[in-house]
């Protein structure tokens, strides 16, 4: 119900919502108003004075309070005596704006001349050259010469590092404060500030480490000059020689839209691609700087085959023959279930689809899984398919009145852009945010309330909320009665007992959630089956399902974790969550093969000794995650690994097949909120690498051809029809045919097809370094609830309880950090510096009690082993709990990974091993 007003800009009358700023109104009708400090995503400040325009308003008769009319019956316009900043002044009814007058032209020329008085003349060696608003605007409106006394030009020492990733050239800075304001308003890391005043003003950072923010790269995008440049891209190429390809970030499960900019097949930089449904115009530093694995020196470039003790280069033909021969033979001798397949959740949907099709349709086994799946409650994927957040969701549309619940998750470290979007919904637009976690996270700052529960009791937050909702009434009586009978004696009181959180808080939160028009629930891997079911119940009972911005989101770890679930890379479900025991005839007929009907082994089981005889590993490295799987791998008759790198697992393999990276091929990834997004090939494939799907098709064809020779061996015969895929499109078509929820994904195609820079003037406003699609659409696959099939709530009894450390010990909680020592970061030298060494976070009170000093080396010992760490004393660790970041090298593994206390090869999801501090 926006209130519209009429304004006239340079003679053109337009209608815009009341409150629109003049700059924005002008953008709507393509009238150019130059800006520096103004940025559409930041609060207006009006400091650079570039946007000055002449403004008039209708003259009012003080007596009648009516506009005074001239002879022609038109309102008389009273022009304001001074030019006004278009970036701060909202339009008002009847306003007249003039952008083409001499006064305005003089103002623009003046401001530019001022800005240039001390600006260095180093455009030829400036990274911003070619996409620099200062350069463009000077050409458009600036003076041709400088009248500044040359010897009086302000000088600074040339570029200085502003942290590991960003360089600051203070001479080029125009003091627009966009970077400071971005850090303040968007990233909420106040690590940049002006020091000194007047002409001496310069950007500083004194955080530890300097410019301590996961978002620093974005400041280089919005800096309207070459003051902030990326150390990664510095002198890497001129913008006009770069080849820009739309893509999807290969790191976390948010699926930020990006542009890969390369020069002669060398990736120079990653830029954000505007997508308001996903990442707006921002990306985190991992996405921006973590691309060097693509061109890493140690990438695999040709197939390897084991000869004796060593892996030796081989031709594709040789390697493929070995693979086909071995798989076929083992299958023939030991049966299909003697073979297992493990995939990573970083490869494309098309790869994952073919992988499970290979295992099921060619080998004939359901032994297929991806190890990261085991971190999640087993019922979570099915529940998401039913009551996941409604398709068409966009957190950007959540604000005042709406509610967001985040439970047992730390999106700040694991899904940063989701953190950003939740934070903006709560902090900027006033949505109610409720955060529940066993430890503090950065999201707590905006949470009302932020709930702290004892480690291990996350389930009871969810169960307690369901109980509170039942107590509230307003729930269908029979549904309530059914649930209550299943719940037995469980009440809000039980949850209070388990979590120590007050009953009133449960009530208040239930009330907030129930009353809000829209509510989304995000959860992480801390919840067990009972907890996830309770969250689903909660959403169903208070009717937050089946609509956009309502329902559950599982916060998954990797770029295609959701795709791996959707594509049936799991022992019990076919693509589209079809149980293997159910009616699988559609698959069988399209694949031309009968399918195995017994659920297969899961990843943990496959990695146990003698569980299988052969293992096909694609884009996964189980050995690095679980040293105990070594013995299982050693005992295999045959191990084939398909990867980018010679991982620890690959080093044990009989055959290693080199895969192409995401940047070298096309495909689709599915985000953690179920958006299916396409990426395109940006650069030529390295060496002899091939896309995973292509490798899989050939393996399938070869296995079948080999099988034909085994035909009358002992009755086994490979199955399935043609595997002659020549493009990803073909695979996508097949997926769309078989998997109803992916039927609509073709729209993702057009969406991705065109990316250009912004229209020239928009580029100046946004600062020419972010990109936008020509057409915007997106595909978020529909849930059952979206189609009107809301499941009945169901109660699962939770066995979880607070974890206790034995006397004299502390709880150990593994956490994930954005910057870890994983392969994808460690190959990017600059980014790798941002990853801390192995450290243990300890609460100040505990530190004092145990006499631990900041940064002191400490040794942690668990039932698994021991490791040496640096102590970091911080409130972020709750009292009695030590936090250790996973994926931080050997000491962490020594403490966390081992045979005792957890099954070999299961992905880590410990909630609390006890440790003693030496």
């Amino acid at each position: 119900m926006a209130n519209y007003v009429n304004v006239t800009i340079d003679g053109q009358e337009i209608k815009v919502p009341a409150g629109t700023l003049i700059v924005e109104a002008a953008r709507l009708v393509n009238k150019e108003i130059p800006v520096f400090c103004y940025h559409p995503r930041l609060e207006p400040v009006g400091m650079c004075r570039m946007c000055l325009v002449e403004v008039g308003t209708p003259k009012m008769d003080p007596a009648t309070r009516q506009p005074v009319l001239d002879d022609n019956g038109k309102p008389v316009i009273a022009m304001m005596p001074k030019p006004q900043t278009a970036c701060t002044m909202p339009v008002s009814p009847g306003m007249v704006v003039k952008t083409t007058t001499q006064v305005v032209a003089d103002a623009r020329r003046s401001v530019l001349e001022f800005l240039l008085t001390s600006h260095p003349l180093d455009c030829p060696i400036c990274d911003k050259g070619g996409e620099c608003p200062l350069q463009e605007l000077t050409f458009l409106y600036g003076p041709g010469v400088s009248r500044m006394p040359l010897d009086a030009k302000f000088h600074f020492y040339k570029p200085i590092p502003l942290g590991d990733l960003i360089m600051l050239d203070r001479e080029r800075c125009v003091q627009c404060a966009r970077c400071i304001r971005f850090q303040d308003e968007i990233a909420d890391d106040h690590v940049l500030e002006f020091k000194n005043r007047g002409r001496g003003m310069e950007i500083i950072t004194v955080s530890t480490p300097p410019f301590d923010s996961k978002w620093s790269g974005n400041t280089t995008d919005i800096c309207p000059v070459g003051a902030l440049t990326s150390r990664d891209f510095r002198f890497g190429g001129r913008p006009w020689e770069l080849n820009n390809t739309p893509s999807i970030c290969p790191h976390c499960s948010v699926g930020c839209n990006i542009v890969i900019a390369d020069r002669y097949d060398d990736i120079k930089r990653i830029m954000p691609l505007e997508n308001n449904n996903v990442n707006d115009i921002w990306i985190c530093d991992k996405g921006r700087f973590g691309h060097h694995f693509v061109n890493a020196k140690d990438r695999l470039t040709q197939p390897l085959v084991r000869r004796g003790d060593t892996l030796q280069p081989a031709t594709w033909d040789e390697a493929m023959s070995v693979v086909a021969e071995r798989l076929s033979t083992i299958r023939a001798t030991n049966g299909p279930d003697a073979i297992g397949g493990l995939a990573g959740d970083r490869v494309a949907n098309e790869d994952l689809y073919l992988f499970q099709k290979l295992m099921r349709g060619v080998i004939g086994t359901n032994n297929v899984d991806h190890p990261t799946r085991l971190a999640l409650a087993p019922n979570a994927p099915d529940l998401i398919a039913q009551v996941g957040v409604g398709s068409g969701s966009n957190l950007e549309n959540m604000g005042k009145g709406d509610a967001i619940l985040v439970i047992g998750a730390d999106p700040d470290e694991e899904q940063p852009v989701i953190w950003l979007r939740i934070k903006q919904a709560a902090h900027k637009r006033g949505a109610s945010l409720i955060v529940a976690n066993a430890r503090p996270t950065k999201l707590d700052r905006y949470a009302r309330p932020s709930l702290r529960y004892p480690l291990g009791t996350a389930d009871h937050i969810a169960l307690g909320l369901v109980a509170a909702v039942l107590d509230r009434g307003e729930v269908d009586a029979t549904v309530a009665a059914d649930l209550r009978s299943l719940a037995g004696t469980y009440s809000v009181g039980t949850a209070v007992e388990m979590t120590g959180i007050a009953a009133d808080t449960f009530k208040a939160v239930a009330e907030t959630l129930a009353k809000s028009p829209d509510a989304v629930i995000f959860f992480g891997s801390e919840l067990s089956e009972a907890g996830v079911q309770a969250l689903a119940n909660l959403a169903i009972l208070i009717d937050h399902v089946g609509r956009p911005n309502n329902g559950l989101v599982a916060l998954l770890p990797h770029n295609n974790s959701h795709g791996a679930l959707d594509m049936g890379v799991r022992p019990d479900r076919l693509p589209g969550y079809l149980p293997v025991e159910g009616d699988t005839s559609a698959f069988a007929s399209l694949w031309g093969a009968p399918l195995p009907t017994k659920a297969g082994l899961h990843a943990g089981q496959m990695l146990q000794r003698r569980a299988v005889r052969a293992l096909y590993v694609m884009a996964a490295d189980p050995l690095s995650e679980n040293p105990e799987s070594a013995r299982a791998l050693q005992n295999l008759d045959f191990l084939v690994v398909q990867d980018l790198f010679l991982t620890e697992t690959a080093a044990q393999a009989h055959v290693v097949l080199p895969a192409a990276s995401w940047a070298e091929r096309d495909g689709t990834f599915t985000t953690t909120d179920r958006r299916v997004q396409k990426f395109s090939p940006a650069i030529r494939k390295l060496g002899q690498t091939r896309p995973d799907w292509e490798i899989l098709s050939e393996v399938a064809q070869r296995v079948r051809a080999t099988d034909d020779r085994h035909e009358d061996g002992n009755g086994h015969r490979s199955v399935g029809r043609d595997w002659t895929y020549v493009s990803v499109e073909q695979i996508k078509a097949e997926i769309a045919e078989l998997v109803p929820m992916y039927a609509g994904m073709e729209t993702a195609d057009e969406y991705m097809s065109t990316v250009r820079g912004r229209p020239p003037f928009e580029a100046i406003v946004q600062t020419g370094t972010s990109f936008k699609f020509q057409s915007e659409s997106d595909y978020q696959w529909p849930t059952a609830a979206d189609a009107g099939n809301v499941p009945a709530p169901h109660w699962i009894v939770s066995k979880s309880e607070a974890l206790k450390a034995p006397a004299g010990q502390l709880l150990l909680a593994p956490v994930r950090l954005l910057f870890d020592h994983g392969t994808m970061i460690s190959k990017s030298a600059l980014l790798a510096r941002r990853a801390p060494g192995p450290f243990v976070a300890i609460n100040p009170a505990d530190a004092e009690r145990l006499g631990v000093a900041m940064d002191a080396p400490v040794r942690l010992t668990t039932t698994v082993g021991r490791g040496d760490f640096t102590a970091r004393i911080t409130d972020m660790a709750p009292q009695g709990m030590l936090l250790v970041a996973e994926d931080m090298g050997a000491p962490v593994r020594g403490v966390l990974l081992g045979a005792h206390g957890r099954p070999a090869g299961v992905t880590l999801q410990v909630i609390g091993a006890s440790v003693a501090v030496d």
Partner: protein, 441 residues
């Protein structure tokens, strides 16, 4: 009660007035006590101040009562913030008031706070006035001990706390929104207006910001009434005003005179003319911030309207006097240097313009000016006028434009190498003597 010929600088007649007992013996805090104890409606105080026509003494001369009435209805808490940043070159009136007659000032703050219905007042005082801040703090402590400030005053439900907040050296913090930012712990840069502080001020709450002298006028106004007050000064600029006299003048200091007193009375009769006995060449009526006036204005009355009509502003009434031998280009350079030093850096024209103009003036007064330099200074100023974020930048154009307007020949002479700026500077040592002599006056 002893008589004083002063309304504001009463300590000059009443020794020890900075002590609370002396102040109360002379009728101090009586108005305040009556107001609170009798639960006088705040609106009544506000109306009296409005009727008295008191205008802000901080520079802009905005009617104080009108400003108070801008507060949005029903929004609390509200804050009173006193602007004791006094950093305009040549201004030292608030300092004397706070040091000599602190209780009258505090009583004014109290009455103002009561009128705008607030319970907390902050006095933002420039860091250089540390010793003044101590005196104020002592006065506040005294007043609290006597029950004039604090909780449940005079047995009523009304409470009022006053806190002294020390600045740390930044002229821009005298600008009211920059002051608020500084008080909140941010960089002292001005805020966008609207919203105005009366609506969204300190900590986002409705806030009134007044100058020290403004508030020191309030107790006499409430005591003697609006009609009495209006009888002093001129119709549009009523009341007494403190004039700070400095520069090339025999008897520098603060003078309390009714608004509308002619320049001549202050400068010649009271100030004794220039120190070096030369005729008055120029007057800066409001420190560095308002246009310079030639000596020919001596008969203009010093009130807001007349000074404006003469081509300048009364501002804070800090008169810096220049004699016939003083170099105007040099003074312009000095003033522009001041603004360059004090520019907060937020907006482009002021940050860059003051720096640029200073560097051009620098070479002018060093005899290295280019033929076009005088015009260049004017151009720089004209490129700034009307484009700055806050008045500081606009102020800074005065010493560029009006020094040249009135004394162009001096600038031209400098550029032609015939100026006096350099010689003047080297001639300075002789200027020391008169000052030392002055002690004997």
């Amino acid at each position: 009660m002893s008589e004083s010929k002063y309304i504001l600088l009463r300590e000059r007649d009443i020794p020890g007035l900075d002590k609370i007992d002396v102040y109360t013996d002379n009728g101090g805090y009586r108005v305040w006590q009556d107001t609170v104890a009798n639960a006088v409606p705040p609106q009544q105080i506000l109306d009296t101040v409005k009727a008295a026509g008191l205008r802000g003494r901080g520079g802009a001369g905005f009617p104080t009562g009108v400003k108070w009435s801008f507060l949005p209805k029903g929004v609390y808490p509200r804050y009173m913030v006193v602007n004791a940043d006094e950093s305009e070159p040549g201004t030292f009136k608030d300092r004397e008031l706070m040091e000599g007659n602190p209780h009258q000032f505090l009583e004014g703050v109290a009455l103002g706070s009561y009128a705008i219905e607030c319970n907390v007042a902050y006095i933002y005082i420039r860091g250089e006035y540390l010793s003044t801040a101590r005196i104020l703090q002592r006065a506040i402590d005294e007043a609290k001990a006597k029950g004039f400030l604090g909780q449940n005053l005079f047995g009523t439900k009304y409470s009022l706390e006053m806190y002294v907040h020390l600045g740390a050296g930044a002229y821009i913090c005298g600008e009211e929104t920059a002051l608020l930012n500084s008080l909140e712990g941010l960089l002292g840069q001005p805020r966008l207006k609207p919203p105005f502080p009366a609506a969204v001020g300190l900590y986002g709450k409705p806030t009134i910001i007044n100058n020290v002298e403004t508030l020191a006028n309030v107790p006499p106004i409430i005591e003697h009434g609006a009609a009495w007050y209006k009888s002093i000064g001129t119709e549009k600029s009523p009341g007494p005003k403190l004039f700070c006299l400095s520069g090339n003048i025999k008897r520098p200091g603060n003078y309390e005179l009714p608004l509308g007193t002619p320049f001549r009375v202050l400068i010649e009769e009271l100030g004794g003319g220039t120190l070096d006995g030369t005729p008055i060449k120029a007057i800066l009526p409001a420190g560095a911030s308002a246009p310079i006036l030639p000596g020919s204005v001596l008969d203009v009355p010093m009130d807001y309207e007349s000074v404006a009509a003469a081509g300048s502003q009364l501002g804070s009434a800090s008169m810096i006097i220049m004699g016939q031998n003083d170099s105007i280009p040099w003074a312009a350079y000095k003033m522009v240097s001041f603004f360059k030093h004090e520019s907060c850096g937020k907006c482009t024209p002021c940050r860059e313009g003051t720096y640029w103009a200073k560097s051009v003036l620098d070479r002018i007064i060093h005899g290295q000016g280019m033929p076009d330099d005088v015009g260049l200074v004017e151009t720089i100023a004209n490129q700034m006028v009307g484009k700055c974020f806050c008045p500081l930048g606009e102020f800074s154009t005065s010493p560029m434009l009006f020094t040249i307007k009135h004394f162009r020949e001096e600038f031209e002479a400098e550029v032609k190498g015939r100026g006096i700026a350099r010689n003047w500077r080297s001639a300075v040592p002789q200027r020391l003597e008169p000052i030392l002599l002055e002690k004997e006056l």
